[in-house]
Symmetry: C2
Subunit: 187 residues, 2 copies
DNA sequence: ACCTGAACACCGTTCAAGT
DNA sequence: ACCTGAACACCGTTCAAGT
């Protein structure tokens, strides 16, 4: 999109354009395949231009990860509003499906390299997301206690990353979504 | 080690020296911080020398990950031989502790970038490791069925990566190992 | 057989300079 | 205020050439 070949860029919302293009490249190539120079090229701008909008590559990735947590939270709130019979199972399934549908973004959201970077934005976005989760899960979880809540989270998150990393072998004709429902059922 | 300043390297077991130095750098700097050129420098050899022993950086990382799965398997077999009251809980605890003690190696073992690379070595090492796990878990797991086994695996693996990524907040004065035991208990 | 030196095509980042 | 051009210090990888 926005392949205006008139006068290059010069102004417009470069920050947003970079984020959008970065998300596309991220999902297609993975974090390692996302080069700032390529990104600048894709958006039609010089290699130095992104530095007017982001402190560096890490800052851009962090911004991407923050939007990831926001989308994730929005998806979870939709589930809560829909009101399923088994809210915990519905949340778990949505959690795992979000990971599979946004594989590289999900990985980026939990990237230890970004956490190390010290910028508080990502930590805050993650905390907000998990607070929402706790809120949605509500009374059931509080009654069950912290250990059970952590165990449930670990099960769902573990299923997400094992599927993401191709570690769980599907049987012939087996449906991923059905398998998720089975494993996540009875939380 | 091996800082012989006589005649540079010329021969000796360069392959093994590279792997050993790579593991040290990996754990200290993470996968992103492991540069082939730095590694060659650290071992006292030219940037091109590693290519006589590995097809490229990916092949070296894969070899590292394979040794990771072998160490992991060995640890699990030790647990089986020790014979605990609750073998499943002991296995789970060992699984998570291995991840925490070999953080970047563990991450590398499950790196999707390496899986994509097509070399079968890593897949085979991983399969062998999980076969060993199934064998150790034994009759209990077979009786419980595949879904329960996958759910248990997901819980343990999820706990490992959530702790690794610093997502689980410890309470004041709380012991990591005790928390692991609680979450992994009753598998 | 194993390693070096130099080169190639890339990176991320910085900084003067342009508009 | 926002962007370019050129530079710097790095990468991974290749390849002729050395021993």
């Amino acid at each position: 999109m926005s392949t205006s070949r008139n006068h290059p860029y010069h102004h417009g919302n470069l920050r947003q354009a970079l984020l959008e293009a970065a998300l596309v490249i991220l999902e297609r190539e993975g974090e390692a395949g996302l080069a700032l120079r390529d990104l600048a090229r894709a958006v039609g701008v010089s290699p130095a231009a992104p530095y007017r909008h982001f402190d560096g590559k890490a800052a851009l990735l962090e911004a991407l990860a923050v939007t990831g947590f926001q989308r994730f939270t929005a998806r979870m709130e939709d589930v809560a509003k829909a009101g399923f019979d088994d809210p915990m199972a519905a949340m778990g399934k949505t959690y795992v499906l979000f990971a599979l549908e946004n594989a590289n973004l999900f990985r980026l959201m939990f990237s230890p390299r970004l956490r190390k970077n010290g910028r508080p934005g990502l930590r805050m976005a993650a905390d907000a997301a998990f607070d929402t989760l706790r809120h949605i899960a509500g009374a059931d979880v509080r009654a069950a206690g912290r250990i059970k809540a952590l165990a449930a989270w670990a099960r769902v998150h573990g299923l997400a990353v094992l599927l993401l990393d191709g570690q769980i072998a599907l049987r012939a004709g087996e449906d991923t979504e059905a398998l998720i429902a089975e494993i996540v059922g009875g939380l």
